[in-house]
């Protein structure tokens, strides 16, 4: 187990290289000159050149990349082009907000998804099952930015139960977390249902019933734990798309998290900021996946991690 975790942590190095390279190349290819944007509209060519030199953007691309990666491995993510502040400071300020949002969202994904999946699977093809699955289908189909606006309109504007936007208190968390979590919950629900149905048809469930166990023991002790194995994988993957979703949801709900920081940075072509943000988000994803694998092993000892 220890060796496995060590091995997986070592994989972070190629991840850093890959992520920085891809982001770097994309930012080179997108139209728009950071120096020109920083200098402002109508700035003279000299001013723009001056900016370019100050920021080191006049150096060859390869050199820029290598020096950036070198700094990253020393824990320096560079300074923002816009306000000259260290990127790391800004990220450390924003990351907890996004992590909190992600935590509650994934909680909603897991709790709502599992509950719906189990409810469906216990009585397959019943009215209850069909209605839950139709709702799940809707949950998968609705794009999160639209769902966010819809929820905002209903609960904040019409009913006035919850704040429209911002990140000031616990009430602020509800709508964005719902928006982010619901899509994943729908996927988890469908996965849980099919996995449960598969498990309930297995011989060992019949054995459990033959022992005289109560039905809820059969479902929760014997069936659910087996059914969870594929669901854990899906939850891990969902966390990835959830991180991507924070970019949209933080923008819709005006939350100053990592996602919104990246969007703003892209708009101003603030290369170090974009790179830092994406890098940290990727690392979070790597850690979550590591966690998923460890959990996988805890549920199912047959899996040999090495």
């Amino acid at each position: 187990m220890f060796l496995f975790i060590l091995k997986r942590l070592a994989q972070i190095i190629p991840v850093i290289l890959g992520v920085t390279l891809v982001v770097f190349l994309i930012m080179q290819m997108v139209p728009g000159d950071p120096a020109a944007i920083l200098a402002g509209e109508g700035a003279s060519q000299e001013t723009i050149e001056q900016y370019r030199e100050d920021l080191g953007l006049n150096r060859p691309v390869v050199e820029q990349y290598l020096s950036y990666v070198g700094n990253v491995f020393q824990g320096d993510l560079g300074n923002s082009l816009k306000n000259k502040q260290p990127v790391l400071d800004e990220i450390l300020l924003r990351l907890p907000i996004t992590m909190e949002l992600a935590f509650y969202s994934i909680l909603i994904t897991i709790v709502l998804g599992l509950a719906a999946g189990i409810i469906s699977a216990v009585k397959p093809y019943s009215v209850r099952d069909v209605s839950v699955m139709v709702i799940a289908l809707l949950g998968i189909s609705l794009p999160s930015f639209w769902l966010g606006l819809l929820l905002m309109y209903l609960f904040s504007v019409k009913l006035q139960w919850l704040p429209v936007a911002g990140w000031d208190g616990p009430l602020n968390i509800i709508l964005p977390a719902l928006t982010l979590g619901v899509g994943g919950a729908a996927i988890v629900a469908r996965m849980t249902r099919s996995s449960m149905l598969d498990v309930i048809g297995q011989d060992y469930i019949r054995t459990a019933r033959a022992k005289g166990l109560k039905e809820h023991f059969v479902i929760y002790k014997h069936a659910l734990r087996n059914a969870l194995i594929p669901v854990i994988t899906v939850v891990g993957l969902q966390f990835g798309s959830l991180l991507g979703g924070t970019v949209l949801v933080e923008s819709v709900f005006a939350i100053n998290g990592l996602g919104r920081m990246i969007v703003d940075a892209i708009r101003t072509r603030d290369l170090p900021m974009v790179q830092g943000g994406v890098l940290v988000a990727s690392l979070v994803f790597v850690f979550v996946n590591l966690l998923v694998d460890v959990m996988y092993r805890a549920v199912n000892k047959r899996i040999d991690l090495n």
């Binding site: 022992k211 734990r225 047959r302």
Partner: protein, 339 residues
């Protein structure tokens, strides 16, 4: 004979409703199990013996399956009529079951000791520690080496024979009155088969339980069974003392089954078979279900369905007109038709 009856099944019918119609998998099964005895239920694949065994514990998935008629009397209480709660107290306690596939019949992610202990906790209300100790003792009783270590392992760490021993330990955890063993040795190789059979016989003596042994293997039947019920097309066609059955089979189907066994003393080039095939459970003939394959069949066999009736003594029952008075008259009729 005045042996105590533990389990009596009367006219049991378990049907399955599918898109193709109604499959009468079990269609009027009768048998009697005495205390301390082993009853073998034999028959070829698809004759309804496994469905019968699952019906006894009401483990038939509903839908599509349903027990549509009959009685399953365990100590004179009808299992068919029991409420869920009552049924659960019987399952695994008075009536328990060993399944055919030890590979898939144990939960893959729960330690085997726990799978046994939970039954004990459930039915005997023992505290956790004592139940675990009892599970370990049971594993020792069924001959699992280093039971304390094995109890903590999960099924994938055990071989097929070991798993079947675990299944037996689980089934015996609450010293049931009746143990249903559905082809418990079919999935095991021959040496392990012999060990498991030996083990079951030993434990039966120790505990004094009755066993229903479901199998298609007549060799196993002759080894372990006191009584035999031969099933064909969802019905019992012959229900007798095992020794008598092997000596003088009464029903033509039983005769065919025994004749098809290879004999080690003769140098047979070809194995005997029973001509024809089993009728579809969706569409049984009106008359005797074996008539089309029976070398003795007459008009009456196709016109009327024979009942399972006693011949000679109360221990011998057979479902065939050959052993009724009608047979003699039917001969005459036939002679009249075709002289």
């Amino acid at each position: 004979m005045d042996k105590e009856i533990v389990l009596q099944v009367k006219n049991l019918k378990t049907h399955f409703t599918t898109s193709k119609g109604t499959a009468k998998a079990v269609d009027g099964v009768d048998f009697t199990l005495h205390k301390g005895e082993t009853l073998g239920i034999v028959g070829e694949s698809g004759c309804g013996k496994s469905i019968t065994s699952l019906s006894l514990l009401r483990l038939i998935p509903t839908p599509p399956g349903k027990i549509v008629a009959g009685e399953i009397l365990l100590n004179n209480k009808d299992i068919v009529k029991m409420k869920e709660e009552e049924l659960r107290k019987v399952r695994g306690n008075q009536l328990s079951m060993i399944f055919q596939e030890p590979m898939t019949s144990l939960n893959p992610i729960i330690p085997v000791g726990e799978q046994i202990a939970e039954t004990i906790r459930l039915h005997q209300r023992l505290p956790r520690k004592q139940a675990w100790q009892k599970a370990v003792d049971l594993l020792e009783m069924v001959g699992l080496p280093s039971p304390e270590k094995r109890a903590k392992q999960e099924p994938f760490q055990l071989s097929g024979g070991m798993r079947q021993r675990v299944m037996i330990a689980m089934a015996l955890a609450c010293t049931p009155e009746v143990l249903i063993a559905d082809e418990p040795t079919t999935a095991l190789d021959v040496t392990i088969q012999a060990q498991i059979l030996e083990l079951m016989k030993d434990l039966q003596k120790q505990i004094g339980m009755s066993i229903i042994f479901i199998t298609h293997d007549l060799g196993v039947v002759s080894e372990v069974c006191d009584q035999v019920a031969v099933m064909y097309a969802g019905q019992v066609v012959e229900h007798r003392n095992a020794k008598d059955l092997f000596k003088t089979p009464l029903h033509p189907y039983t005769q065919g089954l025994l004749a098809s066994l290879p004999n080690i003393h003769e140098n047979q080039q070809e194995l005997q078979t029973i001509e024809g095939s089993v009728p579809s459970p969706y569409d049984y003939p009106i008359g005797c279900r074996f008539a089309d394959r029976c070398p003795h069949a007459r008009d009456i066999c196709r016109a009327e369905a024979p009942d399972l009736i006693e011949t000679g003594n109360s221990d011998t029952k057979v479902r065939c007109f050959m052993h009724t008075e009608k047979w003699e008259t039917s001969v005459k009729e036939e002679e009249l038709v075709c002289p």
